[in-house]
């Protein structure tokens, strides 16, 4: 245990802080593009009931649907949600690190 700790400290004595803004940006990009691509993928696949499951997101994202205009709305919602989640994770992580670090 002591050796493992020593090895860790040999490499870096620093505990990382997360840049909440950067994580928000990354989360936003992943969320926005993710939802856009998922929607577009189903549209391109086509079929009788296009994206019936993904459509359930409209319960939370007002105006979203598995259509081309919906994919753009999904892009915005996904980006916003991903951004908020990323920022929140970064913010809470940094707070906990601060508390634990004394």
């Amino acid at each position: 245990m002591e050796t493992g700790q020593k090895t860790k400290e040999e490499l870096s004595r620093t505990v990382a802080n997360i840049q909440a803004g950067v994580l928000a940006f990354v989360g936003g990009v992943i969320g926005g593009l993710g939802l856009f691509i998922m929607t577009a993928w189903l549209l391109l696949e086509g079929g009788p009931h296009v994206g019936s499951h993904l459509q359930l997101l409209s319960n939370y994202f007002i105006g979203y649907s598995v259509t081309w205009p919906g994919s753009v709305i999904g892009l915005l919602y996904g980006a916003l949600t991903g951004g908020v989640l990323g920022w929140t994770i970064g913010f809470i992580y940094n707070k906990v690190v601060g508390i634990r670090g004394g």
């Binding site: 090895t7 040999e10 490499l11 505990v15 990382a16 499951h53 929140t88 809470i92 906990v96 690190v97």
Partner: protein, 610 residues
């Protein structure tokens, strides 16, 4: 009698470097050399225009200051030479550094398999102690490879069992990489790895051998106002009240001569030095000095009437049936080392104690002996040997036995009581330094005389020094206080690099990430459930209810939202915790792998360092 500003004992690389550095700063020195030639063990001997080196000196240093000095002294008189060397063992030649296919072919399939098993066994059950060289090598190469490729040669060189050689000798010669260095090497193009690899494959060498460097240095030093007196063996070092006042010795005619000075720098072997102190040091110090051992070295040079004998620069002779330890082919170091390209000069190297009978043999007997040994291993036809000579070099290698550290420490403590006296170089520090590190000690000694505070004893202990690391001018008056200065080191990280590594390899806190991810996931499930519950309908949230497959007791209800909050939070905590731990483990594993790879490269040329 005139008093000299500085008296330097020994005109080897360390002593001449001291005088050169002082000369450049306007301080003249008197250099006393016991031999007829400068360069110490780095001299080049000239026998009927056949030049030969005492042991083979590749010019390569990881210390930029030394590289600069070499080029400052010798200009462009360096050749870049390919390195070819092999091991002779069991009537076969093996490429060195070892190459897998060549080694396998030489060992044969059965032996190769046994070597593999032995290596695997050592890796699974390494020796917990690494007190001696044998344990050190076995832990890295396995018992069988150690016996084949390291034991015999090392014991020929050092004259004692590998189990009696201190492990810190190996550790000094093959320095460990820190994790940070290893990572930086990997990230920035394997700085040290490339250096080591290139050193293995090619090297610089002065056109007329290493002695050319020191003969030129002597000229420069004299041009700067210093004087070199050869053939003066210092026998007495007169001191009083913590200061050396003069040294005395004899010239070849037997006449006694005395030299006074303000500062003294000695490269004499510590054993001789303590014996020469007048008055004698305390008995404890004398005993410690007498406990220091040295290995002597003898080269039998054969002039062979053949244009090509073998392509190697040198061959390690591992076979126990001959006493020779290594064989040099000087024209493969530099074609200028022979006066006639149709001839070849070979150096047969013997490592001896001065009490060994071979040490006292006549030159003719040694030449006969060497010729027979060469013929025995099939390298030459004795009839081709036209001429030969012998060079003996006493105390060529300070021995690292189990007692040496304590003995050196005792001697050092005594020497540090002098305010105007320093010891430097391989024998002056009883440290198996190469030429470059000896030069660094010379530079540092010169710096100390000019007011810096450098600890020459710290050179080549852990890291190579940079010029920038030299100590600041002392404020301790004329009494030098050797202190361990804070130095920048070769391969050490710059401030920026240190920051980058700290930043990139900063650890994620698993608990903090667990709490963050857990909180977010718990809240997301909680709110997603509440939204659907508030919306209501005949069948509430059938899609989200599927989470009940994973979250025990979860359903899209008010109470289910709390279950989702708690269980989602716990699941999220686990995800965050494991993710951070894996990331940290991955980074550390990467660094360890890079260090292992770097050290394998460094160990490739272990024999060269024996």
């Amino acid at each position: 009698m005139a008093s000299h500003p500085v008296v330097v004992i020994g005109a080897g690389p360390a002593g001449l470097t001291t005088a050169y550095e002082l000369g450049k700063n306007g301080v003249s020195s008197l250099i006393l050399e016991a031999g007829k030639q400068v360069g110490g063990i780095s001299q080049t001997v000239n026998y009927r225009d056949f030049r030969f080196d005492i042991g083979g000196h590749r010019f390569f240093s990881k210390v930029p200051m030394v590289n600069d000095l070499w080029h400052e002294i010798l200009g462009d008189n360096f050749l870049l030479r390919p390195r070819i060397s092999r091991i002779y063992y069991n009537n076969k030649f093996f490429d060195y550094p070892l190459k897998a296919t060549n080694a396998l072919a030489g060992l044969g399939p059965v032996e190769a398999l046994l070597v593999g098993f032995s290596y695997a066994k050592t890796k699974m059950f390494p020796s917990p102690n690494e007190d001696n060289f044998e344990q050190w090598v076995i832990n890295r190469f396995g018992t069988r490879l150690y016996r084949i490729f390291f034991k015999t040669y090392t014991e020929k060189v050092w004259g004692i069992p590998c189990s009696e050689i201190s492990a810190d000798w190996a550790a000094q010669r093959i320095k460990n990489l820190s994790l940070k260095e290893a990572v930086l090497n990997a990230l920035l193009g394997a700085r040290d790895g490339k250096i080591v690899t290139s050193l293995i494959e090619e090297f610089h060498y002065p056109r007329f051998g290493p002695g050319m460097m020191w003969e030129r240095c002597e000229e420069l030093v004299e041009g700067l106002g210093s004087q070199t007196l050869k053939g003066i063996k210092v026998e007495r070092i007169h001191h009083r009240h913590g200061r050396v006042e003069s040294v005395s010795g004899r010239i070849s005619s037997g006449e006694r001569v005395n030299f006074e000075g303000s500062h003294f720098v000695s490269t004499m072997p510590l054993r001789e030095l303590i014996g020469a102190m007048d008055p004698q040091p305390p008995e404890k110090v004398v005993q410690a000095a007498q406990g220091l051992r040295y290995r002597d070295y003898l080269t039998v040079v054969l002039v062979v009437n053949r244009e090509d004998v073998f392509p190697d620069n040198w061959i390690y002779i591992h076979s126990p049936e001959v006493k020779m330890g290594r064989m040099q082919n000087y024209k493969n170091w530099s074609p200028y080392m022979v006066p006639d390209p149709s001839r070849t000069s070979l150096g047969l190297e013997y490592f001896l104690w001065d009490k060994d009978e071979e040490w006292t043999w006549s030159n003719d007997r040694l030449i006969d002996f060497g010729t027979r040994e060469c013929a025995q291993i099939g390298l030459i036809n004795p009839e081709d040997v036209e001429d030969g000579t012998v060079v003996r070099m006493e105390k060529a290698y300070p021995v690292y036995d189990h007692q040496y550290q304590d003995n050196v420490q005792t001697v050092r403590q005594f020497l540090e009581t002098f305010s105007n006296f320093q010891t430097i170089g391989r024998n002056g520090l009883h440290r198996y330094n190469n030429q470059d590190h000896s030069m660094v000690t010379g530079v540092y000694a010169a710096g100390n005389i000019m007011g810096e505070t450098n600890d020459v004893w710290a050179v080549n202990t852990e890291k190579e020094y940079h010029e920038e690391g030299r100590g600041a001018p002392s404020k301790a008056g004329d009494r030098m206080v050797p202190t361990r200065v804070q130095v920048n080191v070769e391969n050490a990280l710059s401030g920026d690099e240190e920051e980058i590594i700290e930043f990139v390899f900063a650890r994620l806190d698993p608990v903090a990430l667990g709490v963050a991810v857990g909180t977010v996931i718990g809240l997301v499930i909680f709110m997603a459930t509440l939204v659907l519950v508030l919306k209501g309908g005949s069948v509430v949230g059938p899609g989200l209810a599927l989470l009940g497959n994973y979250l025990i007791g979860f359903e899209v209800t008010w109470s289910g939202s709390l279950v989702g909050l708690v269980e989602g939070g716990l699941g999220g905590f686990a995800i965050g915790y494991v993710s951070a731990s894996l990331r940290n483990w991955g980074m550390t594993t990467y660094a360890h792998y890079m260090r292992w790879r770097g050290e394998v490269i460094r160990r490739r040329n272990l024999l060269d360092k024996v």
